[in-house]
């Protein structure tokens, strides 16, 4: 029996294990929407295509499965671009299916035609403009392969509308078998001996954990290895949760807004073991002065991430699920070197005390209060800005996929739609979505999606009525010239939430000046976190609080600012 191309698409998605797609309909992709009913694929309607792709990302980030977003041609497709770029930077497995104008019109600047294949070329691992209905099964199978394999990432499959309507005899989905690739090189044998030798030669080794450690599924093995090494260890923003925060040798987040202890240890180390981090500039500071005394051993699955910012001395290419156990086996054959004196310095109270925890800072106190009252196994999402960094600094969970944020791209507007995807993936989990007043407004329309689906997302707006992180830079480096960062005419978010039929209330930072907080405030927060309904909490706070420590752009990690200094 002949079936339509749209039905073939949906059957192939089901064969890939897809149960949920996020999208927004339009002309070119209408045939696909027409085929949804009875397909076994549940479609989640967002209110903007960017909301759809961020929701698909949230789903993928929390589950490790491929997130799927769909949109129509032209502006629908281009509205996916930021999410595609976000998935590329943060290694998120994502498949975007876009409608395209009918085949005969391609290249004629037809209505709602854009060259989405060309636009997303540099942002995708792989993409395909499907040319015949026969290509559809192969395109979907291959697309899912590239989205999942190696370093995960985004894929675009662009399907002309006439192919979605065309019919053919369909024998079933196909499997994709990749060609052998030279880039699939594995770490050479003997690397474990070399690392052990380097450890014996070092006196100040440290370990840095990034997203790759979580994506590889090797968290348990990594934790055992780190316990064996017992050296100062820290994480990138995407590595948070990989190491239990109460671990004595763990120093928190490193980098531009990392802890003083972590940054100093990284600056002083003579041997840096990197596990699944790509050493981006937010972590390294000035790359020419990054870990100036150290040899670097870089465990990484994607060879393209090696030597980007700073050459490494020993690349260990491969899946951490393979390379970490191999290294651990070799390590256990030797007696462990004693790094206790280095650990005492790097992890000692003196360095920790010098960290400006800012416990008098109401927003930080508020985040501490929220996080301390979260149910176990909650998921915290943040948007982008000061609140993101404060949340990352205060996050205290050992859940590897428990802290979700747009790290590499830093896309404002990420959190709310991503929280939709996370809550759908984890319906019984408390999902806390922390945004700033700027970023929340970028995808505020997704309150409609939250309401329609009755998702019990707990949304917090840190409302300082500024684009806070930009304002901070303007204060510290641009003589307080607050150009175009004033949001003092924000709407009343409580009233907006009510218009979307979502319960909302306001807390003022004065509520955080008592320590501990009053029982009334505590009850309000508990009721907020445990409500079975979606909730919005607007936290009104002072505008000119800053995030410290801060490593200024172009500075070394050792040159971090610990408090406000005279503007330059």
């Amino acid at each position: 029996m002949e079936i339509k191309g749209a039905d073939i698409v949906l059957q192939c998605l089901r064969a890939e294990g897809v149960e949920l797609v996020f999208g927004y309909p339009g002309g070119a992709i209408m045939p696909l929407y027409d085929a949804l009913e009875g397909s076994g694929v549940r479609h989640i309607l967002t209110r903007h295509e960017q909301g759809a792709v961020f929701a698909a990302e949230g789903y993928a980030r929390v589950t490790g499965e491929v997130g799927v977003a769909m949109a129509t041609s032209g502006p629908g497709a281009t509205n996916l671009v930021t999410g595609i770029a976000d998935a590329k930077m943060d290694s998120v497995p994502l498949v975007c299916i876009t409608g395209q104008v009918r085949s005969a019109l391609i290249g004629t600047d037809a209505f709602q035609e854009t060259d989405v294949f060309g636009v997303t070329l540099s942002l995708t691992k792989w993409s395909r403009l499907v040319r015949t209905i026969d290509e559809i099964p192969e395109a979907i199978a291959e697309g899912f392969h590239w989205a999942r394999s190696g370093r995960p990432g985004p894929v675009v499959i662009d399907i002309p509308t006439d192919l979605l309507k065309a019919k053919k005899e369909f024998s079933g989905p196909v499997k994709f078998t990749p060609h052998a690739r030279p880039a699939d090189a594995k770490a050479e044998g003997g690397f474990t001996d070399t690392i052990v030798a380097l450890l014996r030669q070092s006196s100040k080794p440290v370990a840095l954990v990034g997203a790759g450690a979580k994506l590889s599924g090797a968290i348990a093995e990594l934790r055992r290895l780190l316990d064996e090494l017992n050296i100062p260890t820290f994480a990138t923003v995407h590595g948070l949760g990989a190491v239990p925060p109460e671990t004595p040798y763990y120093l928190g987040m490193v980098g531009m807004h990392g802890t003083r202890a972590a940054n100093m240890a990284l600056h002083e180390t003579d041997l840096l073991l990197v596990f699944g981090a790509r050493l981006d500039d937010r972590v390294t500071g000035d790359p020419t002065r990054f870990a100036p005394h150290a040899k670097i051993v870089h465990f990484e699955i994607d060879p393209a991430q090696l030597d980007r910012v700073r050459p490494c001395d020993l690349p260990v290419i491969g899946n951490l699920a393979d390379t970490i156990p191999a290294f651990h086996v070799e390590l256990r054959r030797h007696s462990s070197p004693d790094f206790s004196s280095w650990r005492a310095v790097a992890c000692g109270d003196e360095r920790a005390e010098l960290d400006p925890r800012g416990l008098a800072q109401p927003t930080i106190r508020f985040l501490d209060e929220l996080f301390s009252r979260l149910p176990q196994d909650s998921v915290v999402l943040t948007d982008v800005g000061q609140h993101q960094m404060w949340a990352a600094q205060r996050y205290r969970s050992a859940s590897p996929r428990g802290f979700i944020t747009s790290g590499g791209l830093g896309a404002m507007g990420f959190a709310l739609p991503a929280a939709v995807g996370v809550q759908l993936a984890k319906p019984d989990t408390c999902v806390l979505c922390v945004s700033g007043d700027g970023g929340f407004q970028m995808n505020i329309q997704e309150l409609a999606t939250v309401h329609r689906l009755g998702l019990p997302v707990k949304m917090v707006i840190i409302d300082n009525k500024y684009l806070g992180m930009v304002r901070q830079w303007q204060q510290l480096f641009y003589q307080r010239n607050y150009a175009e960062t004033d949001l003092s005419d924000n709407p009343d978010f409580v009233e907006i939430a009510k218009a979307y039929k979502i319960h909302s209330f306001r807390l003022n930072e004065d509520a955080m000046r008592e320590f501990p907080v009053s029982s009334e405030t505590g009850e309000q927060i508990d009721r907020f976190l445990h409500s079975p309904e979606p909730e919005l909490l607007v936290f009104d706070c002072a505008p000119e609080a800053n995030v410290f420590p801060m490593v200024p752009a172009g500075a070394a990690l050792s040159e971090m600012l610990l408090e406000e200094e005279p503007t330059q």
Partner: protein, 101 residues
């Protein structure tokens, strides 16, 4: 100036991804020559790059799904690429005269 030879399966977009690895680094592409090579295709590029960029390009090219092999040739002399690029077009007056004829 250095020449690079990239062998690839000529699937949709592969050549463009290879070129994009250079263009995203603001590298000029004074020579690009792509042709069938046995069962696959090969593109030869001439690029003015430093050693760090060579490493980055190799790794990025090998990361492209249908790239098979990357190799580099001897450094080319700059004079070879001194010709104006793109080629000089028809003079405007000649074009106008032809149109009025």
């Amino acid at each position: 100036m250095q020449t690079f030879h990239i062998r690839y399966r000529n699937t949709q977009g592969t050549l463009m991804r290879i070129l994009n690895a250079a263009s995203r680094r603001a590298l000029d592409l004074p020579l690009v020559q792509a042709e069938a090579a046995e069962h696959d295709h090969q593109v030869t590029l001439a690029l003015d790059v430093n050693q760090k960029q060579v490493g980055q390009l190799y790794r990025e090219w090998y990361g492209i799904a249908d790239v098979i092999k990357v190799s580099s040739g001897a450094a080319a002399h700059a004079a070879t690429w001194a010709a104006p690029h793109p080629p000089a077009g028809v003079v405007i007056e000649e074009s106008r005269a032809a149109a009025r004829a």
